[in-house]
């Protein structure tokens, strides 16, 4: 009797184990499919931006600048949703600083108002102004920056001297070149760079318009190249896709670690709460364009996407499949139900910020001392993100997993981490 029972149990175990593994693999396939689509959409919208930038520098006008700004704003929508793939996937984490580094000492790139917060005593290059200076010294070496190329931006200037605030590439560098500094503090108004900053010959404002145009083109080209690289990493046969599918337990941990780290330390803490606590628009994520409400909102949507296993693309079509939500529900329905409700609540809270911003109260105004309505909106989003983090931890526990150690966060290679 006993041997038979043992054999039966063993058989059951053998059957059950692969079935569970298959469930997880199917969830991870969905996750990788969403990443592939998200980065492909980020790439396509960045290519549209590249075309708009080409048109702007070819014939600067109010309309051409507005069109480039519109293209930049559209490019942010899919990209921000991919931020949920950070903090759990080393391939993404090693790459991310090239495309979305923030906050930046924009004086590295171009002229700034010398009475503004662009001055940073911890960064010798905060006011380097590469656009005005074709030759300079960096780390003891003479740099020839006569020609502004993607290589100069990505390999020489970006994170120069290991200082993360030296951001020369990515969305925020392009944003600065399109909008310019927002000098309105917590009052209404975004950056107001004139289109004549790109005018060649007579009519050029801000000086060195040829170099400014060259910088904008090179930075946009580099952004497109970087996004091409990440889209390929998640396509069939790509390294990031292979990495999550290789070990189902680690892959599922990566999803939850990304969700929790983005919700709590990054979004609720560093990007949202800190700005309010400092009443400082320098802490605004998309500070030149006043697009922060959208950046935060689509981060929240992205976190929910990877949990529910569904992503809506810019063209309205959806990419979906077996979800992590179902996996958690099988382990503990109560944890899943609560987490789904909390993800909806955080998207709604971030949506309230978006609605208020679209209604005329820009995100930087919400940070202002004495703006109680803005403070309430922001605190609502922080509370919702903190609440869902606890449930994400419970989902980790329900699945019998551990979170992946977040390599490099808050470490020597990142001396500018603020929210500790």
């Amino acid at each position: 009797m006993k041997p038979t029972l043992f054999a039966l149990l063993a058989t059951t175990a053998l059957i059950a184990a692969p079935a569970f593994a298959d469930d997880r693999l199917a969830v991870l396939e969905t996750y990788a499919d969403i990443a592939e689509a998200g980065y492909a959409d980020s790439l396509a919208t960045a290519q549209a931006l590249q075309a708009a930038v080409a048109a702007l520098v070819a014939a600067p006008s109010v309309e051409a600048l507005a069109a480039a700004k519109t293209a930049w704003l559209a490019a942010r929508v899919p990209y921000q949703q991919t931020e949920a793939f950070r903090f759990g996937n080393p391939i993404v984490d090693e790459w991310e600083g090239r495309v979305n580094a923030w906050p930046l000492d924009e004086g590295l790139i171009d002229y700034v108002d010398m009475t503004s917060a662009a001055v940073n005593e911890e960064n010798d290059f905060a006011l380097l102004n590469v656009i005005a200076n074709p030759r300079f010294t960096l780390g003891g070496a003479e740099i020839d920056a006569v020609e502004i190329t993607p290589a100069l931006i990505g390999e020489v200037l970006h994170e120069a001297e290991g200082i993360e605030a030296n951001v020369a590439s990515g969305y925020h560098a392009v944003e600065f070149l399109l909008w310019g500094q927002d000098l309105n503090g917590t009052e209404p108004g975004a950056g107001a760079r004139p289109h004549t900053d790109f005018m060649q010959g007579a009519g050029c404002t801000g000086g060195n318009c040829d170099r400014r145009a060259a910088f904008l083109v090179a930075a946009t080209d580099l952004l497109v190249a970087d996004l091409e690289e990440m889209a390929a990493n998640w396509a069939e046969g790509g390294a990031a896709r292979a990495a999550v599918l290789q070990d189902p337990a680690k892959g599922i941990s990566a999803i939850l670690t990304g969700m929790g780290s983005l919700s709590y330390g990054e979004l609720a803490g560093e990007r949202i709460k800190l700005g309010l606590m400092l009443h400082d628009p320098e802490e605004e994520h998309d500070c030149f364009s006043d697009n922060t409400h959208n950046s935060h909102f689509y981060d929240g949507v992205g976190i929910r996407n990877v949990y529910l296993g569904s992503y809506t693309r810019p063209d309205g079509s959806t990419v979906s499949g077996p979800s992590l939500s179902a996996l958690v529900a099988a382990a503990d329905p109560a944890v899943d139900a609560q987490l789904r409700a909390e993800l909806d609540a955080s998207v709604a809270a971030l949506g309230s910020i978006k609605a208020a911003a679209e209604g005329g109260m820009a995100y930087d105004q919400m940070l202002g001392l004495g703006n109680d309505a803005g403070k309430e909106l922001i605190e609502g989003a922080v509370s919702a993100l903190v609440a869902q983090t606890r449930s994400i931890e419970r989902a980790v526990a329900a699945l019998g997993l551990e979170t992946v150690a977040v390599e490099g966060s808050d470490s020597l290679d990142n001396p500018t981490a603020v929210f500790q």
């Binding site: 911890e122 709590y264 990054e266 400082d280 551990e402 979170t403 966060s409 020597l412 981490a417 603020v418």
Partner: protein, 330 residues
């Protein structure tokens, strides 16, 4: 290590609950916050009597010592309303506090000195680091705006410290202490079971050690080729190393209460504390030359070692892994 922890978790389920959480709350957290709150209140009272730097540097240092006993705790009342940042906004890589102080001194707005007004101001301006900039900056006279600012900052800090201590309360008093002590009780939404409470405290211990290694030591260390002595914590008041030693001692106490049997962790923390106490470099300025840099790095390695030991030993003892914390993200 993942397998070891999983195995330990299974074993733990079979053993009765230990008094780990209760001991940490009653023997470490509550006394620590009481000391900090008392020292901050004393600083507030001293500023009422005499707000000049000479009179306040002593009480300010005592309050900072008090904070070192609890600065690693980033859960509960200190996380509400941004209190942790309002007490200690550091690091401040964009020098926001210094920039805002210049603006405030130039504006000399009397409204900011009114009771309660400072509570609404930027956290970078406030707290222990805001006071340090005022008390160790240019000297000022009684009756000046800077003097009034020091008084307002000290009062605000005392209020914040008092609010944190009150928020924790005493066992049975209905505060945050009870949420931890009664983990798993009906209606306790913060901690659904004892494991969640253990994980929360364990996460504080480990991230506290990370903060010492990565920030208090890591910032001035910079890199071997490019040390950053100016980035040390509380450089103006000359106590960067003291902070490291005191904070390590507090974390050793926390580890002792959380897992009294964790001998390897105690030994590793003891080694780090000894190294800190013997380092003849109170401001960590020695990082500017190679031999001094290496000495500070040895201390940092000892903290890393203690951290790794604690993760393995105490994580296994408690049957938990690390939870999410405010230092996640970049």
């Amino acid at each position: 290590m993942r397998r070891d922890l999983a195995l330990a978790f299974c074993l733990c389920l079979a053993t009765p609950a230990v008094a780990d959480v209760a001991e940490t709350v009653t023997d470490h957290i509550l006394p620590g916050y009481a000391r900090f709150s008392d020292s901050a209140a004393a600083l507030g009272a001293a500023a009422q009597a005499d707000c000049r730097p000479a009179a306040l540097r002593g009480p300010w240092n005592a309050a900072f010592d008090g904070w070192m006993g609890v600065s690693h705790l980033r859960l509960g009342p200190v996380e509400e309303q941004g209190r942790a940042l309002a007490i200690a906004y550091w690091p401040d890589p964009k020098a926001t506090g210094a920039r805002q102080l210049v603006g405030v001194l130039a504006a000399a707005d009397p409204a900011l000195l009114e009771p309660g007004a400072m509570a609404e101001a930027s956290v970078a301006l406030r707290g222990l680091f805001g006071l340090e900039r005022v008390l160790y900056g240019p000297d000022y006279a009684e009756g000046s705006y800077a003097c009034g600012l020091a008084r307002a900052l000290a009062g605000d800090l005392a209020n914040t410290a008092g609010a944190v201590a009150a928020g924790w309360g005493t066992p049975g008093g209905g505060g945050y202490a009870d949420a931890l002590l009664a983990a798993g009780a009906a209606g306790n939404a913060s901690f659904l079971d004892a494991r969640e409470a253990r994980q929360a405290l364990f996460t504080q211990l480990i991230t506290g050690l990370d903060f010492i290694a990565d920030q208090r030591l890591g910032r001035p260390l910079g890199s071997f080729d490019r040390p950053q002595p100016a980035r040390a914590e509380t450089l103006l008041s000359g106590r960067p190393l003291r902070n490291v030693a005191l904070s390590l001692a507090a974390l050793r106490e926390m580890a002792q209460t959380l897992a009294p049997e964790a001998a390897a962790t105690q030994a590793a923390l003891g080694r780090a504390i000894t190294l800190a106490e013997k380092l003849p470099d109170p401001t960590l300025a020695g990082v500017a030359d190679p031999s001094g840099w290496l000495k500070v790095e040895i201390l940092q390695q000892a903290v890393h070692a203690a951290r790794d030991t604690a993760v393995a030993e105490i994580g296994a003892a408690l049957g938990v892994g690390l939870g999410f914390n405010a230092a996640d993200g970049d």
